[in-house]
Structure formats: structure tokens, C-alpha cells
């Protein structure tokens, strides 16, 4: 009960800050919509030699407002940015996906999460990083979101609110 109430007040506070920020030029740092997002990255802890490495990225809106997230350059849209930190036996694994120069985003590039809604996305790791070799891997999403808005995603790039969502790191081992 306590927890719910605190989430409510947080959401109201975030909304207030967000509305205030619409008129201001300074980006909001505290109690932004992103704090109403919970993120979890998961996958099996052991993979066979040729098993594909597929992680599940779950995002949940625990606020009282719909949240629109720009999927651009996140694992939510495939591999158009080096958005993960991947290591194998503590050595960095380089990004092998693409990087693109793009025009301002359209509404279709936003993921809309209703209140309480959760979205799970399959992330095909091997298409962005070479995770084929045996070893102990650690995978961490940097959580950088180019725009997060309460309500339906606006498309005025000048009003974009970059945010960073905290997400857990995961580890898995690929057996020889």
C-alpha cells in the first residue's frame, strides 16, 4: 500500500515537473518519466555451442500516465546503434551492427506504454555482437533513450527529452 502511494505521488510529481519543463529550455533531471519505467533484461544463464543468444528486454510503465518511448537507437528496434555493453571474459566485445544518420523521428518510432503495461522485446544479441565464442559473457543495456514523453509521443525534436533508464546487467556462459 505504502509502495503504491509513493508511486502515485512520484508520478504526480513527475507530471508536474514534466509540464513545467515544456515551457522551459532546461531538461529535467529529476523525477522524469523514465523513473516510472522499470526495465529488466533476462536470458538463460547457459547456452550451448551453437545456441542463438536471445535476451528478453522487458519494460513496464508503473506510472499513472501513458509513456511514449522513442525506440530509435535502442535494442527495441534492432541494431542501428551500439546500445549494449558486452564483454566476454571481461574483454569488450565490439559492436558489429549498423549505425544510421536519420531525420527527425515520426510517431511510428515511439513505443507507447499504457499505465501498468509491459512490453517484452526479443533482442537477438548475435546480430549486434559476436557472442559465438565460448566464454562468460556480461551484457548491459546502457539504457539511453533519445526521447521519453508522458502521453503520446510528440515529434518536435526541439522538445525531445533524452533520458537514461536503469536496467540490470545479465551474465551467461556459452559452453565450448
Amino acid at each position: 500500500m505504502n509502495r503504491i502511494r509513493s508511486a502515485q505521488s512520484l508520478s504526480l510529481f513527475a507530471l508536474g515537473v514534466f509540464l513545467t519543463s515544456m515551457g522551459a529550455t532546461v531538461p529535467v533531471e529529476a523525477a522524469a518519466p523514465v523513473e516510472l519505467l522499470s526495465c529488466r533484461l533476462s536470458m538463460p544463464t547457459t547456452l550451448g555451442r551453437k545456441e542463438p543468444a536471445v535476451a528478453l528486454l522487458a519494460l513496464r510503465n508503473s506510472g499513472k500516465q501513458p509513456i511514449a518511448i522513442l525506440k530509435r537507437n535502442t535494442p527495441l528496434e534492432g541494431w542501428l546503434a551500439d546500445s549494449l555493453v558486452v564483454t566476454r571474459d571481461d574483454q569488450p566485445v565490439p559492436y558489429i551492427g549498423a549505425m544510421a544518420k536519420r531525420m527527425p523521428p515520426s510517431a511510428e518510432e515511439y513505443l507507447l506504454l499504457k499505465t501498468g503495461a509491459r512490453r517484452r522485446t526479443r533482442v537477438m544479441l548475435q546480430k549486434g555482437y559476436d557472442v559465438s565464442l565460448p566464454g562468460r559473457y556480461q551484457v548491459h543495456w546502457k539504457g539511453e533513450l533519445m526521447d521519453v514523453q508522458l502521453g503520446k509521443g510528440p515529434v518536435n525534436p526541439a522538445l525531445a527529452q533524452p533520458q537514461t533508464v536503469a536496467c540490470n546487467a545479465l551474465t551467461f556462459t556459452r559452453t565450448p
Binding site: K101, R102, P157
Partner: protein, 364 residues
Amino acid sequence: MSKRKWNLYAALATLAMAAGASVAQAATSGRGNELLDNSNANAAIATSVQSSKAYHRASEDVVIQVSFTNTSASAVTVPQWLFDADDVDRSFLKVTRDGVAVNYTAALVKRAAPTADDLIVLSPGESRTASYELSGAFDLGEGGSYAVSFVGAAQNAMTTQAGESGSIVIGVEANPFRDLITAVDYQKAAGAGGISYTGKCTASEKSSLVTALTNAEVYAAGAVSYLSATPSPTARYTTWFGALSTANWNTVKTHYTNIRSVYNTQPIVFDCSCSKKNTYAYVYPSQPYKIYLCGAFWSAPATGTDSKAGTLVHETSHFTVVAGTQDYAYGQSAAKSLALSNPAQAIMNADSHEYFAENTPAQP
């Protein structure tokens, strides 16, 4: 348009001809920048040249329109390729500056005899208009006033039944890179390792890419030259890369040195198969030096903000062996914010490299 209207139009056209005026002028009187053709009254097809703009900035395409009007009493045909925006041959246009013909730099195409599919029928009185971009086909770099007319192409008999048009005069800003470009060994600028193409690059796309690469080399060389000065918090540097630190300045300088080196020494591959409209281009940073061009690239200006040349600088900076930049922020507004909030990311952001190189609007 109804048949009756066409007949009326044809009748008016005939009257106009009889009065010694031009059909094209009669049809479009009131538009600026148009002159009439009197030079070939016997031709079945009257031509006239128009431009919606009197003056073109150096970074802009120079587009003119040519109207082809059947002034005869019977149907005539014109080749379809005259209306094909992707066609590379523009040799049927004549461009002069101070009375001297301007160098034609695009292709001369010798064509097989056209089949019925390759022809467009113009009914009596019917008119069709084609648009042609001049800066890719004529050397307009010197800038000034250019006279443009349709003259037909000797190697294409099909164009000769169209009469020569009168000429219009358009103004073009001098290309600020002109001196630099002519100083650069053209082959070298186009990649000492050569350029190759995959994935359906059309001839006009290839031509556009060679120009873009040449301009990108000028951008990279300009940035290296600028950053070879003693580090100081100039407006240009701090706008795109944030608060000055000597280490950051030198990092960025190394990036541009590497980018320029790619253009001068490495084999470059362009792929034109991507048609995504909201994407300019992409690369696989781990696979130098292949650049994939997408829909937005082709409508970008040659130089200036978010231009073709700048996009190549952006993409080249992504290659891990060059600068290994990321896309932390897209667009000038976000890139400026990034410079203020996070210089460490700004010096590793691809668009920031592009905008610094483009330097549009120019900052000292």
C-alpha cells in the same frame, strides 16, 4: 483536361503562332524568367525554358524546366528519356557565361533507335514539361549569370525535331569550395583506392556520390586545417564539441585527419539499395569503407547542413578504425545541447562531426 479544351488550346496556339508569338509564352505568360523562342519556327515542337528561381545559392540544386509544345497540326513524338529525372544526358541544354559555353561534365549518351515504348506522343497543342538539374551536368562553380537554353542533341536525332528555345538567365552563387576542389587531384579525392558501387546505384547517383566525396574531402581537409591552429574556445569548436580542453581538441583533430585519409587513400564502396525515406545513410562501423545511402540522402543538398557531403563525413566517422563515433544525438539542436551537457559524448558523436565540418551557418 477535356478533349474540347485541348482543341480550344490548339486553336489558340495556332492563332498565337500566326501572330508571331510563341505558344509557350502564350500558355504561360505572367510567369517570370521566361523567354520565347523564335529561332526555329519550322520545328514541330516549340520549346521554352523556365526557372522558378532567379538566384541559386551554391548549396542548392539549379533546376530549370523545359516545356515541349506540339505546335503542328498533327501528333508528334518525343523521346521518353527527355522526361526521365534519372537520365544522365543533359547535353541537349546549352549553358553559357558571358557568351562562353560552360563545360558540360555529364554523359553523352548514344541511344539505340527508340521503340514505341520509349516515345511520348504529343497531340496538336499538347505540352509537356521536364525538369533538369544543371549543377550536376555543367560546371557552375565559378558563379555568376548563366544563360540557359534548349538546343537539342546532335547525337540524338529525336531531339532535333524540337526547336531551339530562347535563353533565360539565372544567377548562381560561386561555389566556395571551387578553388579547393580544383586544387585537389580529382582521382585522388575520389579515393585513391577507387570508388566502387553495389546495390543499384544509378548513373546519376554515382555522379552525385563522386561530387559528394570530393566535397567531403574538402570538409575534412578544412576541419584539419582549422584544428591545426592552437586550441582555443572558438565559437565553431564550442558550439559542436563543448567546453574546450586541449585533449578533446586533439582527439577531434585526429578524427578529421583519419577521415580525410580515408578519402585520399582508401577504397570506398557505395551501396544505393536502401530506400528508407527517413534515413540518410548507414554503415557497419566494423566494415570499412562501405557506405549505404538511403532515401533522405538523395534529396539532401550537396553541401551545407545535413548535406550529402556532410553525411559522408558523418558516416565515415562511425568506422571503428577511423573515429568510432556513435549517434548520441541527431540534428543541430540536439547536437548543440549535447555539446553543452556532455562534451565527452559530443567529441564522439557523429552528427557533431558533420555539423562542425559543414560549419553552416559559418562560425569563426
